[in-house]
Every structure is written in structure tokens, then in C-alpha cells.
Amino acid sequence: MTGKNVWIASFAAVVMIAIVVLLAGSPSVTADDQSSAANAEVKIDNFSFGPQTLTVPVGSTVTWTNRDDIPHTSVSTDGLFKSKVMDTDEKFSYTFTKAGTYPYFCSIHPKMTGQVMVK
């Protein structure tokens, strides 16, 4: 390589490294951040919550959708949230503003349990 080319290559390398370092530190591009702005979903079907354990970042809104042919509810065992009855295709949403583990169940069919883990 010529001296000039070497210089350009080195400069480009430094710039690229710098960009990578900057990007790595910035929250705006990593995959994790994608979901803290978006909703997470729990599908209710066959008398069960899917996924039974859902992990989301703080600030997420979780939406339960009932796909079963029987009504269900989503009720926090710690009294933090309590949905109205959801008939087929009805939904309920709750936004988790604090980190923690939030167990819940269906108050109509209490054997149906799930939890949301907020990190």
C-alpha cells in the first residue's frame, strides 16, 4: 500500500472502532431496548397462560388476549391488578413500572397461574 492509502486505512479503522465503541455504549441500537418500548403479549388458550413465565424490561406493557372459548381473568396475587372478565378475543393490559416478580392467576379457574418477571 502507498503511504496515503495506509493512512486512509488506519483512519477508517480508527473511525470504525470509535463508532463501534460509541454504539456499544448507546442504548439506542441494542436488541434489548427494542422491547422496553414495545408491548409484550400473553395468549390465553386451553385454560393456560402462554408463556406461563414472561420476562420483560421495566416500563413494559403486557397485554393478555383470551383465545379460549371460555372467559378468563388475569388477577395479581398481590392485588396489583385485576382484569375484568375477558370473553373470547377480549384483552387486558397492565404496565409494569417497577422491577420484580408478579405472580397472577385466573380468578375463575384458579389452577391457571402465570408470572411476569420485570427486570
Binding site: F47, D68, V85, F105, H109, P110, T113
Partner: protein, 325 residues
Amino acid sequence: MPDKKQDLIDQTLQDLNNDGVDRRGFLKCMAWAGTGLVWTMSGGIPMSRAFAKTADRSAGKGGDFSFVQISDSHIGFNKPANPDVTATLQTAINKINAMSHKPDFIIHTGDLSQLSKPGEFDTLDQALKGASAKQIYFVPGEHDMLNDNGEQYLQRYGKGTKGTGWYSFDHKGVHFVGLVNVANLKAGGMGSLGHEQLEWLEDDLKGRSASTPIVLFAHIPLWTIYPEWGWGTDDSEQALSYVKRFGSVTVLNGHIHQIMQKIEGKVSFHTAMSTAFPQPAPGTAPSAGPMKVPADQLQQVLGITDVNYVVSGRSLAIVDSPLGA
């Protein structure tokens, strides 16, 4: 001796069906053709008689009477398993009205409505107005307690009841107790009676002669049928301990939308069919939800239960009949 007696009971129950199919197989076989079966306990040994013969009870002995149990009408349900639950309820009522002996009253063991909506309760009431028996006793199912902790249910059917709707009454010497095991359910649990109701029950039964026939009725089965699907009551053991001393105890439940029976000593347990839709046998489907059957077979898996009390008998005779052949 207990073994010989059990063999006789098993043999008799087997013979009753004449085709070697057991009670659970009955639903699958569906060749019942609408006839009912009476079995009574006489001196501790069950005997069967064809329904048609015992239907002639014109020589009733004073204290004899009968009542009908219906369950799980789910007014408001409209999915493929039964798009018209009001129609099948009406069929059940017509069947009650067509019985040759008029029942003294009807007991509805819960899940009157699908979503606890006022309109659903209204429709039920309207249909029941046409029943030959004007006195109807209710206990709520979990579907009757939605959104308002059973406020709507209590307003309509809770007169004279305590707590979440429990109560007792006497009829021609038989003591009936309506229990509520669908309120304040705990995560991961099954049905639940609760401390207050259990205390009330103990008190209610205190001092009654052990020869008083007892009938307990509640929505969720008071014996453990299938815990994975919540088919049982967490604290029923305590309730059953209070009735242990009585000579004849009958437990009538609903919730599972199929017939299951068990005899344990002097206690007979029975769950009724629904008038709305059937549910699968334990563990035979991914969940306990409504089970779709071919439309022309729907009437065979829905039904009513005729319960007969004969003064000389030790127990109540329970006859299940499907809505149609």
C-alpha cells in the same frame, strides 16, 4: 364381608346397563335411547329397576317426594359446542314438565349464566317460569361471580342466604344445605368453602338427629375428581366430617358437565350433566373446556337428574336422563 358386598354392588351396577358398559363408557357409547335408571339402597344393597316401572308412583307413601337437579345452564354461551343454550335449557324444562311424577322443587347447582350478565339471568328466570315446579333453589357457579363478586347473583337469588350465598332448608324431613365453593378462590387452588361457611355448616348440623337424611349441594364437586383441572374442593374434607355421623348423605354437584358418582360409606356423591354443553372426561383432552360433539348427538350428552326420596329407603334414588335419544 365387605368384599362380597362390593362384588355384588359392582355386579349389579354392571348388569344394570345390560351391555357391560360402565357409567363412564355410557357417554361414549351413547346408545342409551333416553331411558333412565333408578338405583336405590335397600338394607345397604343397591337394586336397580327400570325407570318406566318406578315412574308409576301413584301409591306414594306420604313422606315420599322427588325433586330435580339441573346444572350448568351457562345462559349467554354461544360457541360451536352449543350455539343455543337457551333452547337446550328449554328442552330440559320440557322434560321436567313431562315427568309422570311432579317434582316438589328444582335445584340448580350453578353456572346459571356464562358471564354474570343481567340479561343472562333474566333469560334463565324467564325460561324457568315455565317449569312445573315453581320453587327453585340455586347455588352459584364461578361464572355467576364475575366482575362483581357475585353481587348480581345475590341480589336475584340470595334472599335468606348468608355470606356468599349459603343456606339450608328442610323439606318433608330431609335437610338440604346449599353451599358456595366458588368465591374467594386462591391461586393454584380448587374450589373453596372457607372458614366462615364451614363454621356455619358445623353449627347448622349440630343437634340434628343422625337419622335425618342430608342433602348437600354445591357447584364444584365436594370430592376430588381431577385436581389438574380444579375438579375438587380444597377444604371439603372438613365439611364432610360434619356429616359423617348421619345415616344418609347425598352430595349433588355440577361444574364438570358429566355424570360421575361415588359411594363412600353412607355418603353418595353425584355430579350432573349440563343443560348447555358437555366437557371431556378427566385427562382426555388438553383442557376442561366445552367439548364439541356431532349436532345430532348433543341431546344425548346433556341432561337432568331426577332424585327420589322414599321414606322407607335409606338413601335417595338418583336417576339421570339425557335430554334426547
